[in-house]
């Protein structure tokens, strides 16, 4: 599987990272190198192997349904690049 400029553009759209033409050329090369390198894995027979989701093998502890807050309201917005009347503000979304 090799990456072409169409794929790089698609992936950059998905990752929401703008790339210029120069970066695109560089990325095509780098990503192809990296993916070529990870293609090593194809040599491994994984036919009967279950995917390993985590090394953590204890059961998940569940929380009681209790409301608890350490955060006062204004803190949530404290680091916001733009906010107004208690809302986060973003450039208008077109649906």
């Amino acid at each position: 599987m090799s990456i072409d400029n169409k794929t790089v553009r698609k992936v950059s759209k998905l990752a929401k990272i703008r790339i210029n033409e120069q970066e695109e050329i560089k990325l095509i090369e780098e990503l192809n190198n990296i993916l070529g390198w990870v293609d090593e894995l194809k040599k491994v027979d994984t036919e009967k192997i279950e995917p390993m989701l985590s090394v953590f093998n204890e059961s998940m502890v569940m929380r009681k349904d209790e409301v608890y807050s350490e955060i006062s309201d204004d803190l949530v917005l404290k680091n916001a690049p733009e906010s107004k009347s208690g809302f986060f503000v973003v450039p208008k979304v077109v649906e």
């Binding site: 599987m1 990456i3 794929t7 790089v8 698609k10 992936v11 950059s12 998905l14 990752a15 929401k16 990272i17 703008r18 790339i19 990325l27 780098e30 990503l31 190198n33 990296i34 993916l35 390198w37 990870v38 293609d39 090593e40 894995l41 194809k42 040599k43 491994v44 994984t46 192997i49 279950e50 995917p51 390993m52 989701l53 985590s54 090394v55 953590f56 204890e58 998940m60 502890v61 929380r63 350490e70 955060i71 803190l75 949530v76 404290k78 680091n79 916001a80 690049p81 733009e82 986060f88 973003v90 450039p91 208008k92 979304v93 077109v94």
Partner: protein
């Protein structure tokens, strides 16, 4: 006046309790050193807070109040741990001005135990790097220099480069690190220190900015193995805020001092004699093997057959998780935003300008391997190989108690090297990544030096949650190496 420069934590605690030195003196001593330092170890200083805390510690000590196990000890905090009211950047422009209003569990534990935080240490951006050259706040310089090329600045390793360098340069007594594929062990090795990556789940990940959640684990970087045990004692806890936090009981880590390695089986994985492994490193490895033999341990050869696949596996899994973990940096809730009237434009430009090249490269890879049509071939495949790698260790640990390997294939290299080809940089982690994938505890302790007087780290890997035996083996290396 005591020599404060080369103090370890246990000695410093002794001085503090005997009131031979005050925490304020100690803190001011390090503050001065940090101010004079040109190694770029810190992104943010927290001197005022530190001085206040030191005074409080002194008060507690002088009034014989109950004190914490790190009372009055000045440390560095990797800038990956969110610290309440103190800027936390993860080494990235995208969080350049982010001030958390919450405290990570690890930093909270340390503060509760009396530790004094001098500042936030520099690191590779979002912990993605092995040389601390990807930080938005500039690279960190290793205080150690080669005998041969004395003029060249060396990398401290990464991603916890600021932490390692600051401890090595005596800018603080110890520091926190985080290890995803070697980010504690490799810089500890490059800077001649002790770096301990505990078992996955031992230290809470709450408030630690995520890189790859299934691998990230906090741990200490210290001057001595004993200090590592003290730091780990404070950093570990079961945390109900982290669903992957272990409920296994936490031992008294200093008990490692009574752990006898006599008769224990030390495994040497044949596959770790990797291509490009420096011959001086092989020599130190052999010396270390002899230390163990002399002390009554049994040396056996073991096989970890899937070792060579660990690095490619890691470079699929870690970027894939990162691609989701770093999606939150979108210019909406906090951090850097590139202004635009168009939402998509805002997203794309914010992330293009806010992230550095290495982060972007990994986000692209991670996005690609999860995308429709490639998931099975890459991501799912990697999860299966991860299982095989983990199984390798399981079988190995049926035959041996600990595994001894070098930490890195090379010693610290000059800044600017290995920058052309990302893969060349990735290869730095070839010996540390397998234990990360298997979630095992592993320590790096300096086993010797090369002819240029640069440290060579030895790695000991243990069974899950057997940090005590890992520490004991580390201590043996420390005791035997003769410097």
């Amino acid at each position: 006046m005591k020599d404060l420069k080369n103090l370890d934590i246990s000695t410093a605690k002794d001085y503090l309790l005997k009131k031979e030195v005050s925490s304020l003196e100690l803190t001011n001593f390090f503050i001065e050193r940090i101010e004079e330092s040109k190694l770029n170890c810190f992104i943010t200083h927290t001197f005022d807070d530190a001085i206040e805390k030191a005074k409080e510690s002194d008060k507690k000590i002088s009034s014989n109040e109950e004190i914490g196990i790190l009372e009055g000890i000045p440390i560095g905090m990797k800038d990956l741990f969110c610290t309440k009211g103190i800027r936390t950047t993860a080494g990235s422009k995208i969080l350049e001005n982010f001030i958390p209003f919450y405290e990570s569990t690890v930093s909270k534990n340390l503060l509760n135990d009396g530790a004094i935080i001098l500042g936030k240490t520099n690191m590779d951006e979002f912990a993605m790097g092995s040389a601390n050259t990807t930080s938005f706040f500039g690279n960190v310089i290793n205080p150690l220099k080669s005998n041969q090329e004395n003029n060249k600045n060396l990398v401290p390793g990464g991603s916890s480069g600021g932490s390692a360098s600051s401890v090595a340069a005596n800018l603080c007594m110890a520091a926190t690190g985080s290890d995803t594929g070697g980010s504690i062990r490799q810089p500890a090795s490059f800077c001649g220190l002790v770096g301990l990556k505990p078992s996955y789940g031992r230290c809470s990940r709450f408030g630690m900015i995520a890189f790859a959640s299934s691998l990230d684990q906090a741990g200490p970087i210290t001057k001595t193995v004993k200090d590592a045990a003290i730091m780990l004692q404070s950093m570990s806890s079961y945390d109900e805020k982290d669903s992957t936090s272990s409920r296994k009981p936490i031992p008294r880590y200093l008990d490692f001092l009574n752990f006898n390695l006599k008769g224990k089986k030390i495994g040497l994985p044949t596959e770790y004699k990797v291509e490009g492994l420096n011959s001086e490193i092989v020599e130190v490895w052999e010396d270390t093997i002899n230390f163990f033999k002399k002390n009554g341990a049994e040396i056996i050869n073991i096989s970890l057959p899937h070792t060579s696949f660990a690095l490619p596996t890691y470079y699929i899994i870690a970027p894939a998780e990162a691609s989701a973990n770093l999606a939150r940096y979108d210019g909406v809730k906090y951090g850097f935003r590139e202004k635009s009237d168009d939402l998509q434009d805002m997203y794309e430009c914010t992330r293009a300008k806010g992230f550095g090249d290495e982060v972007k490269r990994r986000l692209m890879i991670g996005t690609y391997v999860l995308s429709a049509g490639y998931y099975d071939a890459y991501y799912l495949k990697a999860l299966k190989v991860r299982q095989l790698i983990s199984n390798d260790f399981k079988s190995a640990f049926e035959k041996c108690d600990l595994i001894l390997t070098p930490t890195t294939p090379n010693v610290a290299f000059p800044i600017g090297e290995k920058q052309k080809d990302p893969i060349e940089m990735y290869l730095n982690d070839v010996l540390t990544v397998p234990a990360s994938l298997a979630g095992l505890p592993a320590i790096s302790v300096t086993g010797g030096k090369n002819k240029n007087n640069l440290p060579i780290g030895m790695q000991v890997i243990g069974r899950p949650f057997e940090e005590i035996s890992v520490l004991a083996a580390g201590k043996l290396i420390e005791d035997c190496r003769g410097f």
